[in-house]
Symmetry: C2
Subunit: 171 residues, 2 copies
DNA sequence: TCTTGACCGTCCTATGTAGACGGTCCACTG
DNA sequence: CAGTGGACCGTCTACATAGGACGGTCAAGA
């Protein structure tokens, strides 16, 4: 079974051949909940090529080496699609630091929290904007966006419920 | 600067020497938002020992090789505590699959969603239980628990707002 | 013409994930 | 009392993810 990152690449390649550089850009754009680095894209592509799931096309513009999905690749993608998705994995440095923050002056802690609070508010505004702007979005992309909106709202509410001595200033 | 995982280990060691095995257990217990594997614990401990931030104690019970934090280690921990925490990183396989799920029969998709919906409801119940049971929790541990509760509530609300043809059954 | 920035690929190191493997020791059970 | 299951303890390997340095191409605009 292929991993999720490979699957995502195959998914994008169904719409036509792409070089690694573009695949990375596409992934970075559409999936904040599944980050992929550039180096990883190339490594996965090499593995996929070895396994015959993608095929390297003749070099295109500049150094671009587009890859196309093969029939075997499509089958592997469909197989992946049918498997049970794993549980999500959250890594939240802020909460780890908070766990140990009893030694930190309240002022300093509050300043840290403020940064994150502001960032989450900006993100929510961005997602809300996207939702309004792209009201015609395909249903499945709409729901992933909604996930982001729900998440940001929840985090913001959490910030606003923090004890007064460390709560960030909210307008 | 040490990484977050090392910092967490140092944080635990402030309460007294522990072997790697115990450190891993402690970390697994208290930090669902910062997962650490056993192999990683030992790797980090080796690095920390090389850098003089922890010190290997004489072997204790069984094969236990406890580590204690050094003065240098305490300083490194305090330095870490004062640095700005990074943004969180979410990896959500379910959303990735959803992004590509237009080919998946609605029935199959709904079954997948059901599994996760049920898991999140169970998690929320568990967190709520903890919050009720440990009402005397130190404030900083209380707020991290609250984060979990807010997150689970948000995800559950998201599930319940999904389009009718794929929404999981909610009691 | 020159420079900036998008485009393209490679490489390296550190960190995170997952599980197999080998072994010790205690408590319970038959 | 012997046997066994399960907690305890460390090691190891393989693969996945994160982040950025490096070297180079090419087109658009100053």
């Amino acid at each position: 079974m292929i991993n999720s990152t490979s699957a995502a690449l195959l998914g994008f390649l169904r719409d036509g051949p792409q070089p690694g550089y573009q695949l990375h850009k596409i992934a970075a754009d559409i999936a904040p909940f599944w980050t992929v680095t550039r180096s990883q894209v190339y490594r996965e592509l090499a593995t996929l090529a070895d396994r015959g799931l993608v095929k390297r096309e003749p070099t295109g513009k500049r150094d671009a080496a587009p890859f196309s999905i093969t029939a075997k690749g499509r089958a592997a993608f469909r197989a992946w699609l049918a498997t049970e998705p794993e549980a999500e994995n959250l890594r939240i440095p802020l909460l780890l630091k908070l766990t140990f923050a009893e030694d930190l002056p309240a002022e300093q802690l509050q300043a840290m929290l403020q940064v994150h609070y502001d960032r989450h508010r900006a993100l929510l505004a961005e997602y809300d904007g996207l939702a309004a702007e792209l009201s015609e979005l395909p249903v499945l992309q709409r729901v992933t966006l909604q996930y982001g909106i729900h998440y940001e709202r929840a985090v913001i509410a959490w910030f606003e419920e923090l004890p007064a001595d460390i709560a960030p200033a909210h307008s």
